[in-house]
Symmetry: C2
Subunit: 346 residues, 2 copies
């Protein structure tokens, strides 16, 4: 077995794509978020999907591992989760089939692939790699606070799980469409699968959290942009350490605050109110100013999945007037989003 | 080998003391800080010292491992560090002698004891434990933010390495002298050796940092005090993640700010100014208020090792008048320190 237990942050192509997306026996679309995210944002890195009884589909061509290998696939990517984040008995046979067909396995599950004896043995036998993207690279340094060259944008949030990854991907795509030199820097498992590299910031030992963020967005050309996926929230009683280390180490020139209108309580923390957008801007600027005194907030990204188009547009206008900043939903491309991009690049 | 790779935070006596302090071949007193700290704060847990060519001494009786075992010692504690934090070749023979004599080994070195093949083999052969206190307990939860019962004090700092452990130990001792029910909660290696338990907060994966702090100071009687050793600083570009997770999870009712007069630049971060005491109070209260809105600052602990007694007393008076808070050096017990203790308990 070649156990790759880390992912180089500076090599965008370290993960072995193209991927064959594995959907397991999943019948609940919510559990296939990883597969949908990879399809949506890295469709050019996907050749097809396969499953063992799943009813969800990505719409990609259905292929056996051998067919995918023949079509150029280099790895099967586990695109689904289940309660517990485990690799159940029904998944073993198809994953063994993938290894036998010459594919590596890429996983963001909690359990490590090499801890499944059948997979470890088969990977060794066939000379394949088992790649756990939740495992941070070895040898991360402590932070230095040294100012790096190039430009950086970090998405931050009023809470976790409300669109920081999606916003960063959308902004990076928009920057690229305008001809800018830009890298999306992934900090979570799905983002890493999409980007082909990155660092799972929540899995980094806390002493090295800021140092990991420094490694993730290294010195670059003066006009190069790193658009960095945020994690957690400075206000979250469980995850603020992750958010602060990422903020300090990223040294963002620009932050974009992500918020879900209507969310009143912090996810997983009963009794904790979601802070206001203004509070979130102020605290991120205050703390981020420690490593980059020039930090500024370029605008707000709202997750308006629960609103119709007219209501969303009205909300953007109201919030923009109230905050004095561009406000948009990156899913609803249009004038509001263009104004947000303009202000990021100003 | 019985490899104990974690230390229960709720069992004050999980480490196998009394200790025989090992000084290696150390000739530089600065490298024996751990031994001195354990001698000063847990002298009742120490039976003696031994060495292989060291010129530093704790003043405790010199014993062979066999003599120490006969005197009741249960473990040899590596009380020294060296550049690199490694276990050099000259230490192997005396540590093997300790294992053969029936002693476990307790270490706060970076290298894990079990990674030294000779020690691993001898521990297995003799049925002894190799205990690395830098390794956090397994199965730490994510934080919940749930308010816990009992009272908590956390020492915080304008920077790292300026007296947060010493201040917490002194305050806990003063609370005990006043007849209060108090536990010192250790968050670093030397503190853990002194307390016999604790969690090495800088070695915890960042997603679990606040959760670890919640575990460290569990629900307690309403009049019970946990005095928690602080780590790092919210202003340190490398270590603020550790500090914020510890602050959120500790839910302190009281903070005491530790500062070293004259330190202008953050340790290990050239160009970063040490923040003022006022800024440090304000930011800790603002962020700590998220999980305990009743948080207050009870005073300031100054590391005045560089001043004579008169100059220190003048400084306490000046700073106290300026800040409107008790200011003292816990090494210089006296009226200033008593006033600080009074205000903590007010």
């Amino acid at each position: 077995m070649n156990a790759i237990s880390n992912v180089s942050p500076d090599a965008a192509a370290r993960l072995p794509y193209p991927y064959l997306l594995f959907l397991g026996d999943t019948t609940e679309p919510g559990f296939a978020k990883t597969a949908f995210g990879v399809r949506d944002w890295a469709g050019d890195k996907c050749v097809g999907e396969f499953a063992v009884g799943a009813t969800v589909t990505t719409g990609l061509p259905v292929m056996t591992p051998a067919e995918a290998r023949a079509a150029g696939a280099r790895a099967v990517l586990i695109g689904v989760a289940n309660r517990g984040g485990i690799i159940g008995p029904t998944w073993i046979a198809p994953l063994l089939e993938a290894l036998e067909a010459g594919l590596d396995i890429v996983s963001g599950m909690h359990v490590r692939l090499g801890e499944v004896p059948e997979l470890a043995a088969a990977a060794q036998k066939h000379g394949r790699c088992l790649i756990d993207v939740r495992v941070p690279p070895a040898g991360l340094p402590v932070g230095t606070g040294r100012k790096r060259t190039g430009k950086r944008l970090l998405t931050v949030g009023t809470d976790c799980a409300l669109g920081k990854k999606y916003t960063a991907l959308s902004l990076a795509a928009a920057f690229a469409e305008r001809g800018l030199d830009v890298d999306f820097r992934a900090t979570g498992q799905t983002g890493i699968m999409i980007a082909g590299g990155g660092i799972p910031m929540d899995a980094v030992v806390s002493d090295f959290e800021a140092g990991a963020a420094e490694v993730l967005s290294p010195d670059a050309a003066a006009d190069h942009w790193d658009v960095i996926e945020g994690q957690g929230s400075l206000f979250h009683p469980a995850y603020a350490a992750v958010s602060l280390g990422l903020l300090h180490g990223s040294q963002p020139d620009v932050i974009v605050v992500c918020h879900q209108p209507g969310r009143a309580e912090v996810l997983g923390a009963p009794g904790y109110a979601v802070p206001s957008i203004e509070e979130t801007i102020a605290l991120n600027l205050r703390l981020g100013g420690r490593t980059n005194p020039a930090i500024r907030c370029a605008g707000v990204s709202l997750n308006t999945a629960g609103l119709d188009a007219d209501a969303a547009e009205r909300l953007f206008a109201e919030e923009s007037a109230r905050l004095g900043l561009p406000v948009a939903d990156p899913i609803r491309r249009g004038a509001a989003f263009a104004a947000l991009v303009d202000n990021c690049l100003k």
